[in-house]
Amino acid sequence: MRRPNYSILILTILTLLVLQVTFLPLIEVHGVKPDLILIATVFFSLQLGPWFGLWIGLASGLLKDLFSQGLVGGFAFSLGAVGLIVGYHGKLLYKESPFVQGVVTFLASALVNFCYYGLVNLYLTMPPLMASFRYIILPASIYTAIFALPVFFLLQKVFRVTTHRK
């Protein structure tokens, strides 16, 4: 994928953020909803590599922090780190496969939430780790991974990602 138009990129992230805070609560299941910002970060990391993934993760994570009650910088750090890791390993993956997209999103979501939990626990009192894993981290990761498939499809269309056959 070539470097995208930055205006369209910023508009996409802002649109996903607005959808995240307005529409997605309608499809919450037991207080858990998918994470569109994470899905976008994973998509751009896979397509454009680690440094772009780091930049996107940092910026979109900071936006997410500003629209949340928690520590400012918590998701900026977590998403930035995950963007870097996913982008680095993305070269080895068949990123057009929906299965790969789902698994990578699941693992990325779990990593982001564990990272965020560990960081915020230094500053605020968080619920117990096992209960957080059972009621938030695991269901959020599964829900986000399932939701990633149509979102990846839409982002591929918007940014005209072509499949490369060797």
Binding site: L26, L54, Q69, G80, M126, A140
Partner: protein, 269 residues
């Protein structure tokens, strides 16, 4: 060049949460309110669309039942018309008796209505953004209620928007008691949209189905506002206390409008 940019970004990534922890609490709050105000009009528009979607889905669900109910209702209208005439007579007599006894109608609290325009972007917290702020006399720690019961309190305010923490948020704490037996405890947010009432005395009179109301302790929430019903009871802290799972009465997944309760004096409502 790219690599050095990347290293710089990594350093920013690491420093940002550390600086945020070290900075005064007002720094993060001002940044968040600034971001919320910038996207305020978009969020309000999104909130309106969400309201319409909610109402459309309710309408579709109800349509099937409405046809059959229509006939039954026509029959009832005729009966009720006669009843209305009779009740009007009773109402006039009631009004006259009230004047005779100098009976004064009591309105419990003064409230400010607000619309929910956005929710928390993460799964870790349960907060909402409402479309009223300091310009509308909304202040920090103002309780939020709906006709069904207690919803939460205002935590951050700006001139036109406010962020509020719901009672199902893990950081929320509400002084509460069992309405029937007056046993006291503390209701805190838990997972799956539920609350937990803790620090209940071991020999307390509490059972499933009991209504939990606010106790008024702490001075933030008025006394007597319904919170929820007891779903199950267990022990806590190695058997020292009882704890109860409480299902809130307010429907947080369909929250569209809330009422902010105004204090009339420094210490009461």
């Amino acid at each position: 060049m790219v690599r050095s940019k990347g290293i710089f970004l990594i350093i920013v990534c690491l420093l940002l949460p550390i600086l945020s922890m070290a900075a005064p609490s007002t720094f993060g709050y001002k940044m968040k309110m600034g971001a919320a105000v910038s996207l305020g009009p978009v969020l309000k528009a999104g909130g309106k669309v969400v309201q319409k979607i909610n109402r459309l889905s309710h309408g579709i669900k109800r349509y099937g039942a409405l046809i059959g109910a229509n006939e039954e209702l026509r029959r009832q209208v005729a009966e009720l018309t006669q009843e209305v005439v009779r009740l009007k007579e009773v109402s006039v007599e009631n009004e006259r008796l009230r004047d005779l006894l100098s009976f004064k109608e009591q309105i419990p609290y003064k409230v400010i209505s607000a619309r929910v325009i956005a929710r928390d972007s993460t799964n870790w917290y349960s907060t909402i953004v409402i479309d009223k702020g300091t310009e509308h006399n909304v202040i920090k720690n103002m309780p939020l209620i709906t006709p069904l019961g207690l919803v939460g309190k205002v935590t951050e305010v700006s001139p036109f928007l406010s962020r509020c923490m719901l009672i199902v948020d893990p950081n929320s704490r509400v002084g509460a008691m069992v309405e029937r037996s007056r046993e006291v405890g503390v209701v805190e947010g838990y997972f799956k949209g539920l609350c937990r009432m803790k620090y209940i005395s071991n020999n307390a009179d509490i059972k499933e189905g009991d209504l939990i109301i606010s106790s008024g302790s702490g001075g933030i929430f008025p006394k007597g506002i319904a919170i929820g019903k007891v779903k199950s009871i267990g022990t806590d802290f190695g058997g020292l206390y009882l704890s109860a799972s409480v299902e809130p009465l307010a429907d947080f997944s369909r929250l569209e409008e809330v009422l902010c309760v105004v204090r009339t004096t420094q210490s009461s409502f």
